[in-house]
Symmetry: C2
Subunit: 418 residues, 2 copies
Amino acid sequence: MRLPMKQETALFVSSLLQELAAFGDDGNGGVTRLLYTPEWRNAQLFLAKKMEEQGLNTRFDRVGNLYGALQGTNRSGKAVLTGSHIDTVVSGGRYDGAYGIAAGLAALVYLKETYGDPLYTLELVSFCEEEGSRFPLAYWGSGNVTGLYEIGKADRIFDNSGVSLEAAMLGAGFGKPEQPESLRADIAAFVELHIEQGPVLERQRKRVGIVDAIVGQHRYAVTVHGEANHAGTTPMNMRKDALIGVSEMILQLEADALAAGEPLVATVGRIDCAPNTPNVVPGSVGFTVDIRHTDDRILSQFSESVLAKFKEIAIWRELDIQISPWLDTKSAPMNSQLIDRLEHISADLSLASRTIPSGAGHDAQLLTAVCPTAMLFVPSRAGISHSALEYTSAEELADGVSVLAALLYELAYEGKLP
Amino acid sequence: MRLPMKQETALFVSSLLQELAAFGDDGNGGVTRLLYTPEWRNAQLFLAKKMEEQGLNTRFDRVGNLYGALQGTNRSGKAVLTGSHIDTVVSGGRYDGAYGIAAGLAALVYLKETYGDPLYTLELVSFCEEEGSRFPLAYWGSGNVTGLYEIGKADRIFDNSGVSLEAAMLGAGFGKPEQPESLRADIAAFVELHIEQGPVLERQRKRVGIVDAIVGQHRYAVTVHGEANHAGTTPMNMRKDALIGVSEMILQLEADALAAGEPLVATVGRIDCAPNTPNVVPGSVGFTVDIRHTDDRILSQFSESVLAKFKEIAIWRELDIQISPWLDTKSAPMNSQLIDRLEHISADLSLASRTIPSGAGHDAQLLTAVCPTAMLFVPSRAGISHSALEYTSAEELADGVSVLAALLYELAYEGKLP
């Protein structure tokens, strides 16, 4: 295939992202678009208008996912989808989610202008919600499409102000008459383009990251009990210092994670000490453990092994330990044929690429349940995301569009479904 | 000398402690007597009455320290003092401070009944404040006697309710007309008997602890800055995890403290992590370091050495570190001649003893500035103090009285001043 003009694409995507950032602009360079708020609604309506201007047939589904379609000539009813999500975290960046939609529109416009109608219907989707920033759930958009969620349960879910998901949805003009829909069985492939939200591509000077899998996650809450004692009158060898025991566990976790190697990551992000007073030996310490890997078997083995070592440390130091698992999500491997094609495409375009795990969750992981799925990353400056400082250069934004357009061409125009 | 009857003494001290515990009884076995409160005032008045019943001449000084004296026959004007403090922490125990006063009264009564008037005036003191639990200072009682504090500055010190130390003092009937006094230049020796507030005597089955020095203390506030990053998308080798760096410092501190050996103790009692979120690599961690030793030179060397190692760990892990000293108190050695005498007395009484550092501060450390000073400990069950669970058996309480009475006999009756 021919290539989209790089400068033109860069300008198109950058301009669209800048226009979108006006919806929920927090005045400090950040963006806040929470599900079903006026900012969110106006952004979806703006996107629908943009899609229509570019000749796409648009529709909103029951929960407010927005689709813009190029009708296929083939009557199979199969559709190839690309897109991402329109919502943000509080004071999020301009690229997370929005980039996948702007890039998708650029790709569809280019393909239509260059090659006319596709064989299989080609659709751009702007999922209504992915971040989990307003209601205590995430992936509401793709979750309704793939059957993870049922719209009927929206009356039992509330935001921090006590507004139900259903009430918010009705307020934004979605839901009811008389519900269902959203589920789709016609998707032949899904491709999501996203910023990396990590430092790997930038540090390794890669232009494109080809996601091999979205990681599974195990999270644990650990509590260690020792003895709170007077810091002056208790000799070192008569102490049961919970914080020292936990320090040893934290270093053990790091050592084991480094030994396991990528893509394993393990983090103690939260620690709470009691009584947390300078002159008292810590009596109890609670902390969280977050472990991620693209291979669920390795993830489980690693978790079991390191938690067993925590218990040994506790025994050795005469501390009590309680470990409670509180999150266990499975990894979502991307389609291997699509990974191969993306590697070839990147090489053909002379874009340095690498396969990369996605350490964060994305809509793509839900789509793996219903169709062959691929996911692409472009670099994030300094790995920063969920922040006003989130940034990817216009040239890098255009790189992503080139790879995405090439894959969509193979899928929807050449009809090479995996 | 003859010995006080053990059972009689045990009963006397236990009963007096039980009566005292009624003043500020918090209903859960704990006691709260904060400086210049009605509970505190009633307890001091009760003690004055008890002292008078036992034939002591009582007086309150300007700040509310209570003295009960057995007048000496020698006209030198020198006085031998024993006693401790009447105030408590919030929900403190029945023995901390109060025991030294009850035991002192038992000793004076026994000596007077057995030997009549002393050569040097023998005084029991109930210092008004030691704990620092109401106002942001400690040792108000002994500090006024030894010149650490000036009563005139009481109008610039406030409790959490905004009441000035002066107003509280006046409200309790002390201070003004027209101030000074409290300073004493006539004290020939001071002996303080106290519960250990630590586990050493109980674990080592010693009946008496002879304090060789009250420790000096260094305290530091340390802040370590790394980079807050996404726990999923940041590979292990691209992190600057402040909590892992701090964990290494905590283990370094423990290792060095164990290597230095007793009486050095070192504690990280407080730790605060930011942003303290399960799925974010810790960006910064603050913690406190409390280091104590009876030898100021060793204390300083140890502190410098371990803080230098903290800095090396920070450099190695590419973290920023700031270290702020916020407390530096000197150690207070007890009088060596009095230590020797206490060892002989304990041996003569067949009470297993050991010299022991005091890891906590006491009025005795202030008295070292003005006179030869000695300090004695009896065991604390499980090392517990500042708690309703504080406990020392009646027999152990009586042991302390025996040793104290014997030393006071040598000092005040035999006139053997150090």
